[in-house]
C-alpha cells in the first residue's frame, strides 16, 4: 500500500522545491517567507482556475439536464467561454450605490473570498501534499467556514436594499442552523477515527473508505453532510439567500462587476471545499479504491495517482450537488428551518449515538 509507482508525485515535486530553495536561501526567515509566497500564489491560481472550470462544468451539466447544449463556441467544447466572461466582468464598472455603507459594501466580497481561501489550507490533495496538516483540521474547517455568514450579512445590510436585507437575514438563520448538522456528521467520523487531523482520518481509511466500513450510520451521516453542506454553501434547493424569483438576487442584488464575481468565486470555492471534505472524510481522500483480496485490481488502482483519486471523488460529489440544483424546486424559508430542526438535527444526534456505540465495540470493519 501507498507505494507510489509513478516516479514523480506531487509531494516529491514539493520536496525538491523545498530543498533547492533551502540550498539557495538557507534556513531562515527568507526561506519561510518565499515558501509562503509560493504556496499562497499557487493556491490562488489553482483555485481560480478550478472555479473557472467548475463554472463551465455547471453550465454544461445544466445544459445536459435541460436538453440543450450549453457553451460550446469559445474554445474546444466552450472551455474558454468562462475566460471571456471573466474579461467581461473585469471590464465592467463596479458600482457602489450612493446610499450604501461604502466601507462595508466593499469589504463584504473580500471577506467571502478570503474565508473561502482560508478553508482550503488543511485539505490533503495527495499523499503528503497538504498546506497545513494541523492537528485540529476538522475543527478549523468548520470554524473558519462559519465566518462567511458575516460576509453575507455585511453585504445584505450595507447594500441598503430591502431585498438584500431579506436575503441576508434568511442566510443568517440558514447558516447558523445547518452548521449543527454539518458539525454532527463530521463528529461521527472523528469519533470513529479518534483524531481531528486530516492526515489521520485519511490514513484510517487505508483498508477501506468510511462510507463502506461504518455500516448504515455512516451512510446516514454522509447523506446528512451532503444535504447540510448544500444548504451551507447557499445552493439550490437551499439558495434562499439569493432566491432569484423571490428576492431578485438576494444579498448580492446591488453588486456588479468584479465585486459580484468575487461572490461567485467564493460560491464555487465553497462548493469545491464542501465536496473535498466529504471526499476526504467519507470517501478516503486520495486513497485509491481497493476491493478486498483482488490483488490485481488493487495494483491497477494504485497506478492512478492520489491527486486524480482526490479530484475524481470531489468532482463526483460536485456533480451530485449540481444535479440537486437543476432538479429540485426551492424550499420556503420556514420549511428550510423545519427540515433542519425537526428532521436533520434529531436524526444526526441519534446517529451520533449509534456511531459512538459502533466505535466503542469496534463493530466497524
Amino acid at each position: 500500500m501507498n507505494h507510489t509507482i509513478l516516479a514523480i508525485s506531487l509531494s516529491s515535486i514539493a520536496n525538491s522545491m523545498h530543498q533547492s530553495l533551502q540550498a539557495l536561501l538557507g534556513d531562515g526567515f527568507a526561506l519561510t517567507a518565499t515558501e509562503m509566497l509560493i504556496q499562497g500564489l499557487s493556491l490562488i491560481v489553482f483555485l481560480v482556475i478550478l472555479c473557472f472550470y467548475l463554472g463551465w462544468m455547471e453550465r454544461r451539466v445544466a445544459a445536459f439536464m435541460q436538453i440543450r447544449l450549453g457553451p460550446n463556441r469559445v474554445g474546444p467544447q466552450g472551455t474558454l467561454q468562462i475566460i471571456a466572461d471573466t474579461i467581461k466582468l473585469l471590464l465592467k464598472e463596479g458600482l457602489t450605490p450612493n446610499s450604501s455603507d461604502k466601507f462595508l459594501f466593499n469589504l463584504a466580497p473580500m471577506i467571502m473570498v478570503i474565508t473561502s481561501f482560508l478553508v482550503v489550507a488543511p485539505l490533503a490533495f495527495s499523499k503528503d501534499f497538504q498546506l497545513w496538516d494541523i492537528n485540529i483540521g476538522i475543527l478549523y474547517v468548520s470554524a473558519v467556514s462559519s465566518i462567511s455568514v458575516i460576509g453575507i450579512l455585511m453585504a445584505g445590510w450595507s447594500s441598503n436594499n430591502k431585498y438584500s436585507l431579506l436575503g441576508a437575514m434568511r442566510s443568517g438563520a440558514q447558516l447558523v442552523s445547518y452548521e449543527l448538522s454539518i458539525g454532527l456528521s463530521l463528529i461521527s467520523i472523528v469519533i470513529l477515527t479518534g483524531s481531528l487531523q486530516m492526515s489521520d482520518i485519511i490514513n484510517s481509511q487505508s483498508n477501506g473508505w468510511w462510507l463502506f466500513k461504518g455500516h448504515i450510520p455512516v451512510i446516514i451521516s454522509f447523506v446528512i453532510f451532503i444535504i447540510a453542506s448544500t444548504a451551507e454553501i447557499n445552493r439550490a434547493p437551499f439558495d434562499l439567500a439569493e432566491a432569484e424569483q423571490e428576492l431578485t438576487a438576494g444579498f448580492h442584488t446591488e453588486y456588479s462587476g468584479m465585486k459580484f464575481a468575487m461572490f461567485l468565486l467564493s460560491e464555487y470555492i465553497n462548493l469545491f471545499i464542501a465536496s473535498a471534505i466529504a471526499a476526504t472524510i467519507f470517501l478516503g481522500g486520495w486513497m485509491p479504491l481497493h476491493l478486498g483480496n483482488f490483488e490485481a485490481f488493487n495494483h491497477v488502482m494504485d497506478f492512478i495517482p492520489g491527486f486524480v483519486w482526490f479530484m475524481g471523488k470531489t468532482m463526483f460529489i460536485i456533480f451530485i450537488i449540481m444535479w440537486f440544483r437543476w432538479t429540485f424546486p426551492r424550499l420556503r424559508v420556514d420549511q428550510l428551518l423545519n427540515l433542519e430542526w425537526k428532521y436533520l438535527l434529531p436524526i444526526s444526534m441519534i446517529n451520533t449515538i449509534f456511531i459512538t456505540i459502533i466505535a466503542i465495540y469496534g463493530w466497524h470493519f
Binding site: Q66, L166, Q245, E246, W326, P329, R330, L331, R332, V333
Partner: protein, 373 residues
C-alpha cells in the same frame, strides 16, 4: 366577503417592498406593493397601468376586420382564442353561417393554443418555484406547436388568423400529420412533466395548502378558468355556453376542490390531456369545403349590442361590442380573465410568505398585457 381593511394599514414605519414593475417572477410589468412583517405578508396591493396600450379605445377607429388583430396583443399566449372571440362577436351581428371546415379548424387551433399556453405556464411555474429545468421541457413541446402555427398562420405568437366569417387561409398540407405527431409527443412526455415536478416532495410542500381561495370567494371575485375550477366552481364556457362547435366534441370539465396552488396546478395538467383528446376527435374528421363565409368587403354591423364569451387558457374572455351602424365599432369592452383573477391575489396571499406569493402568482398564470389593455 370582507376585504382586507385597507385603511387599517398605513405606510409609515412599515416594511414595504415594491415587487415589480421589474421583477423576475411578475412575468411582465406588474407592480405589487407588499407590506411585510419579517417574511410574512400583511397586505398586497397590485398597481396597474405600466403596459396600457388603450386597445379598447383604439378599436373604435379600426374597421371590423382590423380590430380583431389588436386582441392578439392582449393575452398573447391565447392569441387564437382572443381573435376567435372577436370574430364570433362580429359574426353574431352579421348573422352569417360559418362553414363546417372553418369551425373545426378554429377549435383545433384554439386547443393547440391552450396546450402551448399551459406548457409555457408549466415551465414558468417550475422556474418560479426555483426549479429551472422544467422551463426547458415545457418549451420543447410548445416549440413544436408554434412550428405548426408558423406553417399555417405565418406567425408564432400574434397569429391574427381568425377573420369574420371563418379563417384567413386554409391549413398547411402538413398540418394534420404534424398535429398528430405533437399529440403523441405530448402524451408520452406528460409523464416526464410528472416525474420532474408533480410528485416532488419539495414541490408538494410549496403548493399544497398555499394560497387557498374558497368557492364563495372565487365566485365573488369573478374568477374564471382553471383558477376558479380549482376551487370547485364549474365555469367552463365551452361546456356551459358552447360556441364554434364545441357542443359536438366530447370532453370533461376538470374540477378540483382544494382551491390551493396544487389544485390549480392539477387542473391545468389534466386540462392538457382533455385538449389532446378534443384535437384527436377532430383532426381526422376535418370536413371538406369552404373556409370562409361570404362577407362584404367593408363590414357594417346593424345598430345594437353584441356580447360573446369564450374560454381562453386563463378563463372567461368576454367581448362587448356596441355598434351604431358605422364601419367601425362604437365601443368595445373586453372582460379579461386575468384582471379578475389578479384581484383575488391580495385575499389569497394574506399571511403567506414571500415564497408563497411567488407560487400563488405563478399558479394564477397571470399575463400582464391582458390585465392592462
Amino acid at each position: 366577503m370582507k376585504l382586507l381593511g385597507d385603511d387599517e394599514i398605513s405606510e409609515d414605519g412599515e416594511f414595504i417592498i415594491n415587487m415589480g414593475p421589474q421583477h423576475p417572477s411578475t412575468h411582465g410589468v406588474l407592480h405589487l406593493k407588499i407590506w411585510l412583517n419579517g417574511e410574512t405578508i400583511i397586505k398586497v396591493q397590485p398597481n396597474l397601468g405600466y403596459i396600457h396600450r388603450s386597445i379598447e379605445k383604439m378599436s373604435e377607429s379600426l374597421s371590423y376586420r382590423n380590430f380583431i388583430f389588436a386582441t392578439s396583443r392582449m393575452d398573447y399566449l391565447s392569441a387564437h382564442i382572443n381573435n376567435l372571440a372577436c370574430a364570433l362577436t362580429v359574426e353574431q351581428g352579421l348573422e352569417v353561417e360559418i362553414p363546417e371546415r372553418a369551425q373545426v379548424i378554429r377549435i383545433i387551433l384554439s386547443e393547440l393554443t391552450r396546450l402551448a399556453s399551459h406548457q409555457l405556464w408549466w415551465g414558468s411555474t417550475g422556474l418560479d418555484l426555483g426549479a429551472v429545468s422544467p422551463f426547458f421541457y415545457g418549451m420543447r413541446e410548445r416549440e413544436s406547436i408554434l412550428e405548426i402555427m408558423e406553417e399555417t398562420c405565418g406567425a408564432r405568437l400574434t397569429m391574427n388568423f381568425m377573420v369574420p366569417g371563418g379563417i384567413m387561409a386554409d391549413i398547411h398540407p402538413d398540418f394534420q400529420r404534424k398535429t398528430k405527431a405533437i399529440l403523441s409527443q405530448i402524451k408520452t412526455n406528460i409523464k416526464e412533466y410528472d416525474d420532474l415536478l408533480t410528485g416532488n416532495v419539495i414541490f408538494e410542500e410549496r403548493t399544497k395548502g398555499v394560497g387557498i381561495i374558497s368557492k364563495e370567494d372565487a365566485i365573488s371575485f369573478g374568477m374564471s378558468g382553471p383558477c376558479a375550477r380549482a376551487s370547485g366552481v364549474s365555469c367552463d364556457i365551452r361546456k356551459w355556453f358552447p360556441y364554434s362547435g364545441y357542443e359536438k366534441v366530447q370532453f370533461e370539465e376538470i374540477l378540483e376542490t382544494s382551491g390551493d396552488c396544487y389544485g390549480r396546478y392539477m387542473v391545468r395538467m389534466r386540462e392538457m390531456l382533455q385538449s389532446v383528446s378534443i384535437i384527436e376527435q377532430l383532426i381526422d374528421n376535418i370536413p371538406e369545403g369552404e373556409i370562409q363565409a361570404k362577407t362584404k368587403n367593408v363590414i357594417k354591423l346593424p345598430k345594437g349590442e353584441f356580447y360573446q364569451k369564450v374560454e381562453t387558457a386563463r378563463g372567461e374572455l368576454g367581448v362587448y361590442l356596441v355598434s351604431d351602424g358605422a364601419a367601425s365599432p362604437y365601443r368595445i369592452k373586453y372582460r379579461s380573465p386575468n384582471f379578475s383573477n389578479l384581484f383575488a391575489l391580495p385575499q389569497m396571499s394574506k399571511g403567506a410568505k414571500i415564497g408563497d406569493l411567488v407560487a400563488i402568482m405563478s399558479t394564477l398564470d397571470l399575463i400582464i398585457p391582458d390585465i392592462d389593455r
